[in-house]
Structure formats: C-alpha cells, structure tokens
C-alpha cells in the first residue's frame, strides 16, 4: 500500500440519449467511494442521471507530440463532400 489515494476520472451523462462526458477527476480509495464522491462533487445541481468512474491509471492517451501525424492527414480533402463539383440543379441528398 503506497498511502496515496488513487485518482479517478469522472464521466456524467446529462440525460438519456446523450453520451457520458468527462467532467473532471477526484481521489477515492475504491470504486464505491469514487461513485459516492463523484455524486457529491459533480452533481449538486441536476447535472446528470448516470455516472461512470474510471481509474485514471487505466487510461492510455495518445502522444501530443504526434498530434500532427495522427490528426492532420495532409491534403486528404477528397474525404469531404465539398471536394466534388456537382452542378447546383442536381441538389443535395
């Protein structure tokens, strides 16, 4: 036991039909306490109807130094509909 209380990431679904969204983090010794604390810290004003808690250590993140290669795939503008020239009268689908 390290004596450090682990960190958890908190996700809340504002209402049915929407995804859970990251809202912040908190410290708790286990998942039961993490859910309880997430309710107290992040839902005091009806912010949602469902909570997920995930140990922060379980998250694998992409490397920001590789954001260029990963997320700006050069000139692939042909992946977008506006790349294609179609006469106005054909209309949109």
């Amino acid at each position: 036991m390290t004596g450090e209380v682990p960190l958890w990431e908190v996700f809340i679904r504002p209402r049915n039909g929407l995804s859970h969204k990251h809202v912040g983090s908190l410290h708790a010794t286990d998942e039961v306490m993490a859910l309880q604390a997430a309710r107290d810290v992040y839902t005091r004003r009806g912010e949602g109807n469902s909570i997920w808690v995930v140990p922060s250590a379980a998250i694998t993140a992409s490397d920001p130094d590789q954001a260029g290669e990963n997320f700006e795939p050069g000139e692939k503008i042909y992946r977008h509909p506006t790349f294609y020239d179609i006469p106005e009268q054909v209309g949109h689908m």
């Binding site: 036991m1 004596g3 450090e4 209380v5 960190l7 912040g24 983090s25 908190l26 410290h27 010794t29 286990d30 306490m33 107290d40 810290v41 005091r44 004003r45 993140a61 490397d63 920001p64 130094d65």
Partner: protein
C-alpha cells in the same frame, strides 16, 4: 470563491527562444494548452502556484462561514449557507484536480498549505463577528471572486479554464444569497441596519485588497498577461468591482467606508482613497487576526482524518484481495 491576485508569481523560465516563441504563438492564437503539451517551466510553475493558492482559498474559505451554519437565523438561511459552503468545498476539489494535471500531487499541496509554504486569499484571515458578515461575504467577497474568475474561464490552460466555468456557474447564487441577507438587515430595525453597516465597514477594504497589489507594484504580472493566464490587471478588476458595488451599497442605504470615494466623470468610474498595503502584506504573511486558527483548523482536520484515510485504503485493499481470491477459485 475566491481567487486573489497571485501572490509571489515567478514566471522565470529557461527554454530556448525558439521554443518560447512557438509556445507564445499558440497562446496568441487562442489555442488552449492541455496537460501533456510541451510548456515552458515558468508557465507550469506559475499555474501550479496560482491554482494551488486558489484551491486552498476555497477550502480555507469554508471556515469563516462554516462557523455560522449552526447559528443561521432560519431554516431557509441555514439550508442556503450549507449549500454555499458545500459548493466552496467542491470548488477546492475541482481546482486541486486541475493543479494535479500539472504534475503536483494533492498530498504535496496539502502539506504546503499546512506548513505555511502555500498562501491562500488574505480575506479569510479576518473573523466573522456577526450574522451580517455572512451576508457581506456573499455580496462582496463572492462578488470580487466573480470579477476575478470570469476572465479565468478563458485562461490559456484548459483544465483551469474548465474548472473555472463550473465554479462561475455556482458563484452567482453565492453572491445573491449574500446580498439578500444584507438587504434584509438594511431594511430591518435600526439595530439590524447598524449591523449591516458595521459589517460593510470591516469588509470593504479587505475585499478591494483581494485583487492584489497595484499594477505598478505587481511583478511578473506582465508575463501572466502575455501567457493569457490573466486577462485583466489587478487594478482593472478592482475598478470593475468598485463600479459595480457602489450603486449596490447606495440601493441599500449603506455607506462605503471611504471618504475619498467619488465618481470620476472623465474615466467613467469611481476614484477611491489609498489602500493600506502594509495591512495587506501583514495579513498575507500570516499575521491576520485569524491566520493561526485557519491553518490550525485545516491541520486538525488533516490529522484527525488520518485514521479514516488509512482505514479506507485498508478496506479497499481487503476487497481487492477477496476479489482475487474468488477469481482464483
């Protein structure tokens, strides 16, 4: 509540000019900086200190008000004050988590508060002597915090900006419940009105000190502005606060305790009398009337909670072991 102009900022940094210029270009383009992004060490250090001070202020700020929960004059006031103090605890937690994304631990921050290395807003070193003080704190102290915190919602550091958005949504209730308390007293018996005036007399100057030293005397402020950690200078924010608050006091029939306060047509704002900065620095450095009590109360909470933290960790460990044993069967 209650961020204050950063005390003791240190924007020194040692990166190459190219790195700093590239970073500055990102900030100038209003791109948010996120936890794992490269950032100048001075930027990181300034944020750790500022967010830490801010978090400590929220937590220590629970003490002067918590002091009045059991003595609130009605159930309505008690429920509101409880909710407000609970919010402040929440604000502290959002902010500690934002600081932790910069590589400092909660434990380190707590230790620095308890051993006096970390500062918190000077305003909480004043005592809450009467019920009227609870109203005045909501009106002025939460009001000052709103002025300070709204621009922080656009801070260049993403996690801090996001925490401030949540905080700002909640502060408006704090300010209004405070003003309502003061208004009720100001419209009450002569004794009640006198209570409100006495409270305003004691809290006015400490509240306008919350914005920190004058621009001419606040070192490192330029660097924080360039990095878009800060969007307005201390004096700009103080001016906004005074201009918003003076008419609110007039509405209540209360007098701001500054004989030199007067409208300046040319600048379109109020001029105010000189601020006692010696008092400010005394209070910041821990010689305020309540400084010892505040830190002692936090230390007691930390020490008394030790067995709870240990028991909760032991319990979690036991549950984990039991789960593993069942899985192995």
């Amino acid at each position: 509540m209650y961020s204050q102009g950063l005390i003791g900022a240190d924007g020194r940094t040692e990166e190459t000019p190219e790195f700093l210029a590239a970073f500055q270009a990102r900030v100038d383009a209003e791109q948010k900086i996120e936890p794992n992004d490269d950032m100048p060490e001075g930027y990181r250090r300034t944020l750790v200190r500022q967010i830490g001070q801010h978090a400590h202020s929220e937590i220590v700020g629970m003490l002067p008000e918590g002091n009045w929960i059991t003595r609130a004059p009605s159930l309505r006031r008690k429920a509101a004050l409880l909710a407000k103090v609970q919010d402040e605890g929440g604000h502290g937690l959002y902010l500690y988590s934002a600081a932790e994304t910069l590589g400092v631990t909660r434990k380190q921050m707590t230790e620095e508060l308890l051993d006096g290395r970390a500062k918190y807003s000077s305003i909480f070193n004043y005592p809450t002597l009467s019920w009227a003080d609870i109203g005045t704190i909501g009106w002025l102290v939460d009001g000052a915090a709103i002025m300070n915190q709204i621009p922080l919602c656009r801070c260049s550091y993403g996690p801090y900006a996001r925490a401030m958005i949540r905080v700002c949504k909640e502060e408006s209730f704090h300010q209004r419940q405070g003003y309502e308390i003061v208004m009720t007293l100001a419209r009450g018996t002569p004794e009640q009105k006198a209570m409100a005036q006495d409270s305003l007399n004691r809290w006015w100057w400490p509240s306008i000190m919350m914005f920190g030293p004058h621009d001419a005397d606040s070192q490192h402020s330029d660097q924080s502005m360039a990095w878009k950690i800060k969007r307005f200078t201390n004096d700009e924010l103080r001016q906004k606060f005074i201009d918003a608050t003076v008419p609110q006091a007039e509405f209540l029939g209360l007098t701001i305790p500054d004989p030199e306060l007067k409208w300046n047509e040319e600048k379109g704002g109020y001029d105010h009398g000189p601020i006692d900065w010696d008092e400010f620095w005394r209070v910041v450095k821990g010689f305020g009337p309540c400084a010892r009590d505040r830190v002692a109360a936090r230390k007691k909470a930390w020490d008394d909670g030790e067995w709870v933290r240990e028991a909760a960790l032991a319990h979690a460990e036991k549950r984990r072991a039991r789960k593993l044993a069942v899985a192995a069967e």
